[in-house]
C-alpha cells in the first residue's frame, strides 16, 4: 500500500506540475450567437478543463505548457483555439454532424464513436419505446445491419433468437451476451413448463436509454469469454440535472394474425367427408367399413355439424401499455424513476402477457472525486402460453386436426368431451386447464467511482440479476391431458441468481508534451457466479371440482424434486487505446477467463484483440474536400471464447432418477471429456465510415470473416454405446459477410424533412471442418463439411405420377430418375438454408411541421422454411382421422391429371407424408414492421395546459407481409431453424398512443 502511494504521488507530480499559472476567460456561443451552457473547455493533451455556465462563460486556469484549447459541446462541432498571450477567448461552435460526436457505450465504459476502432451499432431510446413488442430483443429487428432477430412464436413474452453475423456454433450457444447496466445477465428462456418464455420480457423497453451492438473483435473482446456471438450492451435511463420532467406514454390497440394463407384453410365438414370417402375407396375398404368409419368421424348419415375450430381458437387480442417516468436532480444528485404496465393478448386463445415494472436510478456526486450510482430495475410478468407442436392440448394443432364435424359445444351449450377422435376440446381446456408463468426479475447495480487523480479512476461495480419463475399447470381429471392421471397439477419454481463484481482502473495520459498522443488504459478484474435453484412438484388424482387446481389437492404426489445448477467465471482483463491526434487510433484488449464448465487443466482461456482506425478526414490533404465530413477506415482482429454449454458437460457422470418400483435407481448420464475447453471465435473485420454533405448522407460498410474453431460439438456416437452424443472440441466453421448501413436526409427544409435509414447484411456460413470429415445428421438438416450450417437435407419430391396419382421422388441429387418408393438415405440432397442470404431494414421517416410518418420495412431473402406438421393436414390421407387443409383438395383424381398433390388414400398414399422437399417452402418475405403517423401538438397550444411536449399517433406493426412462395403455410418467421411448429401466430398490431411530457 505504501508503495502504491509513492507511485500515485509520482503520477500526481507528473501530471499536475504545480507551477506558475494564469487564467483565461471567454464565452462560447452558437452560430446564432446564443450562449452554449455546459460546453467543455479543456487544454489539449490534458484532462484539465471546465464547463461553461448558463451564460456560456468560462474561466480556466492555464497550465504552463498549454498551447491549445479544445472547446466542444453535445451536438456541436469541436473547435481548437491556439492560446496566445490573450486573456479572453470567445468561441463560436457550429451545429455539427451528429454522427461524429456520438458517444457510444462500449465494453466497460463509453467512447466517442469517432474514436472507436471496432464495428458497433447503436439504437436510441426513441426507436424502441412504446412499441407493441414484449421485449427489447423483439424490438430491434431490422435496426442493425447483421443482427438477425427472429421470432419463433407469436406468444406474448416468447423468446427471440438473435444471431449477430451469422451462426457461429453448432451445439454451444449462438445468442449474444446481454450486458445490462454493466451486468452480463442470464438471458433467454428459463422456463420449464411453458413452451416459450423470455427473461428479457420483464425489462420494459421504455426504461432503456440506449442499446449498443458490439459486432467485431475490437469491441467485443473485452468480454472475451462470452463474446463469441456478439455483445448487446443495454443502458437504462438516467436522470438529468435540472427541472424535474414527468413523462407519460400510453398505447392501446389490438393484435390479430399477421400472415394467413388461404391454401391452408382447414376444410369444412362436407369437404373433409368427401375426401375421406374417396380415400377409403382408394384404400380398398368395403362399403360397410366406409359407413362405419364415416359415422365414427361424425358424418351422422349426412346430418353433420360444421364447426370451425380455427375461428374459435383465433381471436383479436388486446394490446395496452402505460408508462410514466420522472427525472431530474441537481448538479450533485440526479434521479430517474419510472413505472410501466404492459398487456398483450396473443392472436389465439390462452395466450397473453401482463407486465408491471418499475425502475429507479440515483446518481450522486459526493465531490469531484467520488461518485455513486445505484439502479434497480424490477419487472413482473404474468404469462399464459398454450402448448405447441404436436401436443393435443395445443389449440393451434387442434385448429387443424380437429374435425369440423366434432363441435366444441353440445346442442345444450355444454362442452363436448366425447367423440373427439382422441383429440382434446381445446376451447373447453382453455377455460378449465391452467398454464401460467409468473416471472419476476430484479436487475440492479451498485457502483462507485473514485478519481484517484484527474486521469486515474477506480471503479467498483456490483451487479446482480435475480430471476424467479413460478410456473403452474393444471390438467383437469375429466378431459384432456389430465384424464390419464385423473387430473394432474404441476408447480415449478425456478430461481436464477447471478452476480458480477467488476473492479476497474481507468487511466488517461498524454504520452508526449503536445498532447498529440493520448493513451487510455484500463485494467480490471471480474468474478461472476450464477446459481439456479429448481423445485418441481407434480401430483395426480384430483377431485372433479375444476376450481381446485393446485398440486396440494392431488392425492398422489408423483414428482417432488429440487436441485441446483451453478456456473462461475473469473476474469482479468486489460485494454488500451492509443490516439494520435484523433487521426490514428490503435486499440488492444486482453482478457484471461476461467470457467467452471471445463476440467481442471482447461479452465482458463486467453482472449484478446487489436484494432486500428484512421480518421482520414483529419489529414491535411482532406482539408479542402468539403463534401466529406468523415472518412474513417478501421480494422480489427481478435479471439473470443464460447463456453455456452451445459454446466457439467465435461464430467463423466452417473445420474439418479432411473427408479424402479419407487426405489432409487441410477444410470450412466454423461460421457464427458476431461479435456473439454473453450470454443474459439476469431473475428476479423474491416470497415469504413463515410459522411458526406455535412452528415446528410452517412454510410458505414463492413466486411468480416469470423472463424469458429475447436467447436464445442456434440459428436454423435453409435447408439450401441448407450449414448447418442458426446461434447468434444472438434470442428470449425466460418462466417463471412458484408454489412452496409446508410442514413440519408434527402430533403431537409424548415418544415419538411425526409430521412432514410437502410441496412443490409449478407452472410455466408461454411462448416470448414468436422471430425473425420463425417456428416452429422441433424433432423431435416445436414451438418456437412463444406456446407453451411442449417442446410436442409431432404429427399426431393418429384411430383405426382399422372398415370396413377402416386407420389414420386428423385432417386438422387442428380435428378436422373424418379421412384414411386420413398427413396433411401442416399437420395437426400442439400437444398438451401434455414438462414437468410440477405436481410435488413429500410425505414423512411417524413416530417412535416408537427406530423411524422414512419415507415419501416424488414426484409429477408434466400432462406427456406420447413412445415414440420404438414404430413398430417396435407399428407394425402396420412393421419386420415384428422382434418385437412384446402390445398389437399388439389389431389390427383383422374389419370392424366397434373397436380403436385397425390391421390388421397385413407391412411396414407405410399410414404408421401414422409419428410421431403414437398414440405419445404421458400422463406423470402418483406414485412411492414412499423407504420406510424404521429402529430406533435404545437408548443403554444400545449404550454397553456402546462405541457412541454405532446404527441399523438397511430401505429401498425407487422401490418403487411409479402411472401414469395405462395405455398408457404405459416408465418415466414419460424425461428432460426426455420421450422414451423404450430405455435401461436405472430401478430400484427394496430394501435394508437399518446406521449406527454410536463
Amino acid at each position: 500500500m505504501r508503495k502504491l502511494l509513492v507511485v500515485l504521488t509520482a503520477v500526481l507530480l507528473l501530471t499536475g506540475q504545480l507551477l506558475a499559472q494564469r487564467s483565461i476567460t471567454g464565452k462560447v456561443v452558437d452560430e446564432k450567437g446564443d450562449p452554449i451552457p455546459n460546453a467543455s473547455v479543456s487544454i489539449k493533451g490534458t484532462t484539465s478543463g471546465v464547463v461553461t455556465n448558463e451564460q456560456g462563460n468560462f474561466t480556466l486556469t492555464l497550465t504552463p505548457n498549454a498551447k491549445t484549447l479544445v472547446i466542444s459541446s453535445v451536438n456541436m462541432g469541436t473547435e481548437e483555439v491556439a492560446v496566445g498571450s490573450q486573456n479572453v477567448i470567445n468561441v463560436t461552435l457550429k451545429l455539427e454532424d451528429r454522427a461524429l460526436q456520438e458517444v457510444v457505450v462500449t465494453g466497460y465504459g463509453s467512447q466517442k464513436k469517432a474514436n472507436v476502432t471496432g464495428s458497433i451499432a447503436s439504437i436510441k431510446a426513441a426507436d424502441i419505446e412504446n412499441r407493441p413488442f414484449t421485449s427489447i430483443d423483439k424490438g430491434i429487428q431490422g435496426m442493425v445491419a447483421g443482427l438477425q432477430s427472429v421470432a419463433g412464436s407469436g406468444q406474448p413474452g416468447s423468446s427471440q433468437a438473435i444471431l449477430i453475423r451469422g451462426i457461429s456454433s453448432i451445439n454451444a450457444g449462438t445468442g449474444p451476451l446481454w450486458v445490462i447496466d454493466g451486468i452480463p445477465v442470464n438471458s433467454g428462456d428459463a422456463s420449464r413448463l411453458q413452451t416459450t418464455a423470455n427473461l428479457l420480457s420483464t425489462l420494459n423497453p421504455n426504461d432503456v436509454e440506449s442499446i449498443t451492438v458490439l459486432k467485431d473483435a475490437a469491441s467485443q473482446s473485452i468480454y472475451g469469454s462470452r463474446a463469441a456471438n456478439g455483445v448487446i450492451v443495454v443502458t437504462t435511463k438516467k436522470g438529468k440535472a435540472g427541472k424535474t420532467v414527468f413523462r407519460f406514454d400510453t398505447e392501446v390497440g389490438s393484435n390479430s394474425t399477421a400472415y394467413k394463407n388461404d391454401k391452408y384453410r382447414p376444410l369444412n365438414s362436407a369437404e373433409y367427408f368427401q375426401l375421406t370417402q374417396e380415400g377409403m375407396v382408394n384404400a380398398g375398404y368395403t362399403a360397410a367399413q366406409q359407413t362405419t368409419t364415416l359415422n365414427g368421424l361424425g358424418y351422422n348419415g349426412g346430418n353433420f355439424s360444421d364447426f370451425s375450430w380455427l375461428d374459435a381458437v383465433e381471436r383479436s387480442g388486446a394490446q395496452q401499455q402505460y408508462n410514466i417516468s420522472a427525472q431530474g436532480g441537481n448538479d450533485k444528485t440526479t434521479f430517474f424513476l419510472s413505472g410501466g404496465h404492459f398487456y398483450q393478448q396473443g392472436t389465439s386463445i390462452n395466450s397473453q402477457l401482463r407486465r408491471t415494472n418499475a425502475n429507479v436510478r440515483v446518481q450522486h456526486k459526493l465531490d469531484e472525486k467520488l461518485s455513486f450510482n445505484m439502479n434497480v430495475n424490477g419487472g413482473f410478468a404474468n404469462q399464459r402460453a398454450p402448448l405447441n407442436g404436436g401436443a393435443f392440448g395445443n389449440p393451434i394443432l387442434s385448429s387443424y386436426f380437429l374435425l369440423p364435424s366434432r363441435p366444441a359445444y353440445n346442442a345444450d351449450g355444454s362442452y363436448n368431451f366425447s367423440n373427439l377422435g382422441g383429440l382434446h376440446n381445446v376451447i373447453a381446456l382453455s377455460e378449465i386447464d391452467k398454464r401460467f408463468l409468473r416471472q419476476s426479475s430484479l436487475r440492479g447495480t451498485l457502483s462507485g467511482e473514485y478519481k484517484i487523480l484527474p486521469n486515474l479512476k477506480f471503479r467498483s461495480s456490483y451487479g446482480a440479476d435475480y430471476n424467479v419463475l413460478e410456473e403452474d399447470q393444471y390438467n383437469n381429471p375429466t378431459h384432456g391431458d389430465g384424464a390419464a392421471s385423473n387430473g394432474r397439477a404441476f408447480a415449478y419454481y425456478t430461481r436464477y441468481y447471478n452476480w458480477v463484481w467488476t473492479n476497474t482502473l481507468d487511466f488517461d495520459q498524454a504520452l508526449n508534451r503536445s498532447g498529440d498522443l493520448m493513451l487510455n488504459a484500463q485494467v480490471g478484474y471480474e468474478s461472476q457466479k450464477s446459481n439456479a435453484y429448481f423445485i418441481s412438484v407434480q401430483s395426480q388424482d384430483f377431485p372433479p371440482n375444476f376450481n381446485l387446481t393446485m398440486p396440494a389437492v392431488g392425492s398422489r404426489p408423483t414428482t417432488s424434486s429440487a436441485t441446483i445448477s451453478e456456473y462461475s467465471f473469473l476474469s482479468q482483463f486489460a485494454s488500451a487505446t492509443l490516439n494520435y491526434q484523433n487521426r490514428f487510433i490503435l486499440s488492444g484488449t486482453f482478457r484471461r477467463d476461467g470457467s467452471s464448465r471445463f476440467g481442471a487443466n482447461n479452465k482458463y482461456g486467453n482472449f484478446g484483440s487489436v484494432g486500428l482506425a484512421w480518421n482520414i478526414e483529419k489529414e491535411a490533404f482532406m482539408e479542402n474536400v468539403d463534401f466529406i465530413s468523415q472518412l474513417k477506415l478501421r480494422s480489427s482482429y481478435g479471439i473470443n471464447g464460447n463456453a455456452n454449454i451445459g454446466n457439467y458437460d465435461w464430467l463423466t457422470l452417473y445420474g439418479y432418477g432411473a427408479n424402479y418400483n419407487q426405489l432409487p435407481g441410477s444410470a450412466p448420464s454423461n460421457v464427458g471429456d476431461s479435456s473439454l475447453t473453450w470454443e474459439l471465435n476469431k473475428p476479423w473485420n474491416v470497415g469504413v465510415d463515410v459522411s458526406f454533405l455535412k452528415g446528410r448522407i452517412n454510410l458505414t460498410a463492413d466486411y468480416y470473416i469470423r472463424k469458429s474453431e475447436d467447436l464445442l460439438l456434440n459428436v454423435p456416437l453409435s447408439r450401441t454405446s448407450g449414448f447418442s452424443s458426446r461434447t468434444r472440441n472438434l470442428g470449425a466453421m466460418e462466417n463471412k459477410g458484408i454489412e452496409v448501413t446508410i442514413n440519408a436526409t434527402p430533403v431537409r427544409t424548415r418544415d419538411f424533412s425526409w430521412v432514410v435509414d437502410f441496412n443490409f447484411a449478407h452472410n455466408t456460413n461454411k462448416i470448414t471442418s468436422l471430425p473425420g470429415g463425417n456428416d452429422i445428421a441433424d433432423g431435416s438438416f445436414i451438418i456437412r463439411q463444406g456446407e453451411a450450417y442449417r442446410t436442409f437435407f431432404l429427399r426431393e419430391y418429384a411430383g405426382v405420377d399422372p398415370a396413377n396419382g402416386a407420389p414420386l421422388w428423385y432417386t438422387g441429387p442428380d435428378h436422373a430418375a424418379t421412384t414411386g418408393t420413398y427413396p433411401g438415405a442416399g437420395a437426400r440432397a442439400t437444398l438451401g438454408n434455414a438462414l437468410p442470404k440477405y436481410f435488413g431494414g429500410f425505414t423512411n421517416t417524413f416530417s412535416y411541421k408537427g406530423l411524422t410518418l414512419d415507415i419501416q420495412l424488414y426484409y429477408n431473402f434466400g432462406n427456406y422454411v420447413y412445415d414440420s406438421w404438414g404430413s398430417y393436414y396435407l399428407g394425402s390421407g396420412f393421419g386420415a382421422t384428422y382434418n385437412k387443409v384446402a390445398r389437399q383438395l388439389d389431389r390427383w383424381t383422374a389419370a392424366g391429371q397434373t397436380t403436385d398433390i397425390p391421390r388421397y388414400v385413407y391412411g396414407g398414399n405410399n410414404a408421401f407424408q414422409s419428410a421431403s422437399t414437398f414440405y419445404l417452402n421458400q422463406g423470402d418475405f418483406v414485412r411492414l414492421r412499423n407504420l406510424q403517423l404521429g402529430y406533435t401538438l404545437p408548443k403554444n397550444l400545449i404550454s397553456k395546459i402546462k405541457l412541454t411536449n405532446a404527441v399523438v399517433y397511430v401505429r401498425g406493426a407487422n401490418l403487411f407481409t409479402w411472401v414469395k412462395d405462395k405455398n408457404l403455410p405459416f408465418d415466414p418467421e419460424q425461428g432460426t431453424t426455420s421450422t414451423s411448429n404450430l405455435n401461436v401466430f405472430i401478430p400484427k398490431t394496430i394501435s394508437a398512443g399518446i406521449n406527454v411530457s410536463f
Partner: protein, 465 residues
C-alpha cells in the same frame, strides 16, 4: 512511461487482491450426478444401478410399449382402428422405413439398457451373495434385450444362423463403432449370459425382477426360437418342476389380469416390467393405447383372433365388446389400469412354459404334448385339444396365439416359423398379406446408427435402401 508501467503493475496487483477468490470458485460439481466410480462403489450402489437397468426396460420403445405392440400389430392379432391417433400406423400398414422413430427408439433404448447392465456386470466388487445376485439379474436383463433386438432387427435363427444379427457390446467404450455379429454369435452370447444368470442368482425378489427360474424360463424361449427343442423342453420343465411358481386358473384369471401391483406370490408371472404410480409412461403407456376408457384405444382385436375363443373361455372376457365408430368391436382389456399404478408388461409367464414344453414334445411325444397344452386349456375353461399329428402342432401354435395374445409374441412366432402372415380385411388392402419374403419382416437398422457408424453402414437389412 516508466512510471506508468510501475503504476500499472501495482494497480493490477491491487485489483487482483481486491477481487481475489478462492481457487475452488471455479470448481463446481453436479448436484445430482456422481462419477461412475462413486456410483458403483458398494453393494448398495450396485443394487441401485441394477434398478436403473430394470427402469431402462420400461422405455416406451422397449417393454413400455413397442415390444408388446409390435408382436401383435405386425402380425394378425391387433389392428389399428380406422379411428385412431396415428400411433403405429406404419406398422399396421407395413410401410415403415429406415427413419422410423419407434425402431430407432428400441435400438437406442435397448443399447442404453444394455450399457446399464454392462456397468453392473463390470463393477469391480468382490463376489458375495448380494453381488452375485445383482450381477446375475444384470446378465438376465442383458440377455433379454439382446433376445428382443436380434429377433426384430435380424432374420430368425431358424433361417440362417450365420446371417447378420446385431452388434454385441459388452464393455463400455463410447467411441466404439461395432458391426453386426452373426445371429449365432448373438444367441451364443444370450445363452452364455443366461447360464451365468441361472448360476449366480439365488433369490426370488418379486415378479418385476429376474430370478433364477425366470432366467431359465427366458432360456426355454430362447431355445424354442432357435428350434433347439430338447433344450427348450429341459429348460421349460426345470421352471415347471423346480421354480415354485403356480399357474393361473380359470378362477383367478380375471383377477390376475386386473391387478397391476408387483407380486411376491409367484403366481404365474416369471418376469414382468413394472410401471408404478410414479414411474410410468402416462398416456404413452401400453395400457393407454388399448384401453377404451382413455382417449386412445387405437389398437383393437382382429376378428379372426376373437373368433378363436369359445364363449366359455375365460380369456374371452379380456376382450370386451366396445363401441368405436358406431360399431361394436372386440377390444383389448389385458392391461386395464390406465392411472395410478399402471398395468405392468408381462414378459414371461408359467403358462408359456407349458406351451413350450408342449411344442418341444412334438412330434416325438404327442401325448405329453397334449398334456402340456391342455394344462393351459383346462385352466381357461377351453375345450381340451385332442388332435394328433400336424393338426396337434397347429393347435399348439394356435393355443400360443390365444394364450399369449397382446403380449408381443405372435409376430415373433411367425418369424421363427418363417410363415407368411394373412391378416384379413381389418387391415388396409395393401397390407393384408405379409409374406415371409417381405423385406419389412425385419426392422431396418436405424438410419441414425448408419450415419454415425461406418462399420454397420454397409450391413443394412436387405430391401431397405
Amino acid at each position: 512511461m516508466k512510471t506508468f508501467l510501475k503504476y500499472a503493475g501495482v494497480a493490477v496487483l491491487a485489483i487482483s487482491l481486491l477481487g481475489s477468490c478462492k481457487k475452488s470458485f471455479l470448481e463446481l460439481n453436479s448436484p445430482t450426478n456422481v462419477d461412475p466410480g462413486v456410483a458403483l462403489a458398494t453393494e448398495a450402489d450396485l443394487l441401485i444401478a441394477l434398478r436403473g437397468a430394470y427402469a431402462g426396460l420400461r422405455n416406451v420403445d422397449l417393454f413400455g410399449r413397442s415390444f408388446p405392440i409390435w408382436g401383435d400389430i405386425m402380425a394378425d392379432n391387433s389392428y389399428q382402428h380406422t379411428l385412431n391417433t396415428n400411433r403405429y400406423t406404419l406398422y399396421n400398414n407395413f410401410t415403415f422405413n429406415t427413419t422410423d422413430a419407434n425402431a430407432l427408439g428400441a435400438w437406442t433404448a435397448g443399447y442404453s439398457a444394455i450399457l446399464r447392465a454392462n456397468r453392473v456386470i463390470a463393477a469391480p466388487l468382490p463376489a458375495s451373495a448380494n453381488v452375485d445376485q445383482y450381477k446375475g439379474e444384470a446378465y438376465a436383463i442383458r440377455a433379454l434385450i439382446y433376445f428382443n433386438l436380434v429377433r426384430y432387427f435380424a432374420r430368425p435363427y431358424t433361417d440362417n444362423p450365420s446371417g447378420p444379427g446385431v452388434p454385441i457390446v459388452l464393455t463400455y467404450d463410447p467411441e466404439l463403432k461395432p458391426g453386426r455379429s452373426t445371429v449365432q454369435e448373438v444367441y451364443a452370447q444370450i445363452n452364455d449370459d443366461l447360464n451365468k444368470a441361472y448360476t449366480m442368482m439365488t433369490r426370488y425378489v418379486n415378479s418385476s425382477q429376474f430370478s433364477k427360474y425366470a432366467a431359465k424360463g427366458l432360456q426355454a424361449k430362447v431355445y424354442l426360437t432357435m428350434n433347439d427343442m430338447p433344450n427348450a423342453k429341459t429348460a421349460a420343465l426345470d421352471v415347471i418342476n423346480n421354480g415354485g411358481f403356480t399357474a393361473v386358473t380359470a378362477a383367478n384369471h380375471a383377477g390376475y389380469w386386473a391387478g397391476s401391483a408387483v407380486t411376491t406370490t409367484k403366481l404365474e408371472t416369471l418376469f414382468e416390467v413394472s410401471s408404478d404410480a410414479v414411474a410410468n409412461l402416462a398416456f404413452d403407456a401400453l395400457s393407454y393405447i388399448y384401453s377404451q376408457a382413455g382417449n386412445y384405444g387405437d389398437l383393437v382385436v382382429n376378428d379372426p383372433l376373437y373368433a378363436l375363443f369359445e364363449t366359455t373361455d375365460v380369456r374371452r372376457a379380456l376382450y370386451p365388446m366396445a363401441t368405436r365408430g358406431g360399431a361394436s368391436i372386440p377390444t383389448v382389456n389385458k392391461y386395464p389400469v390406465i392411472s395410478g399404478d399402471y398395468s405392468d408388461t408381462k414378459v414371461l409367464r408359467l403358462s408359456e412354459m407349458y406351451l413350450i414344453a408342449a411344442e418341444a414334445s412334438y412330434p416325438a411325444e404327442e401325448t405329453a404334448a397334449r398334456d402340456y397344452v391342455n394344462y393351459v386349456t383346462s385352466r381357461r375353461n377351453a375345450t381340451a385339444i385332442a388332435s394328433t399329428g400336424v393338426q396337434l402342432y397347429e393347435d399348439i401354435i394356435t393355443e400360443r396365439r390365444k394364450e399369449l395374445a397382446f403380449e408381443g409374441d405372435r409376430y415373433l412366432d411367425y418369424m421363427r416359423l418363417k410363415r407368411d402372415i394373412v391378416r384379413g380385411t381389418n387391415y388396409p388392402a395393401a397390407a393384408r398379406n405379409i409374406p415371409y419374403s417381405n423385406f419389412r419382416r425385419v426392422l431396418p437398422i436405424p438410419q441414425t446408427e448408419l450415419d454415425v457408424n461406418p462399420t454397420i453402414r454397409p450391413q443394412q437389412n436387405a430391401g431397405y435402401n
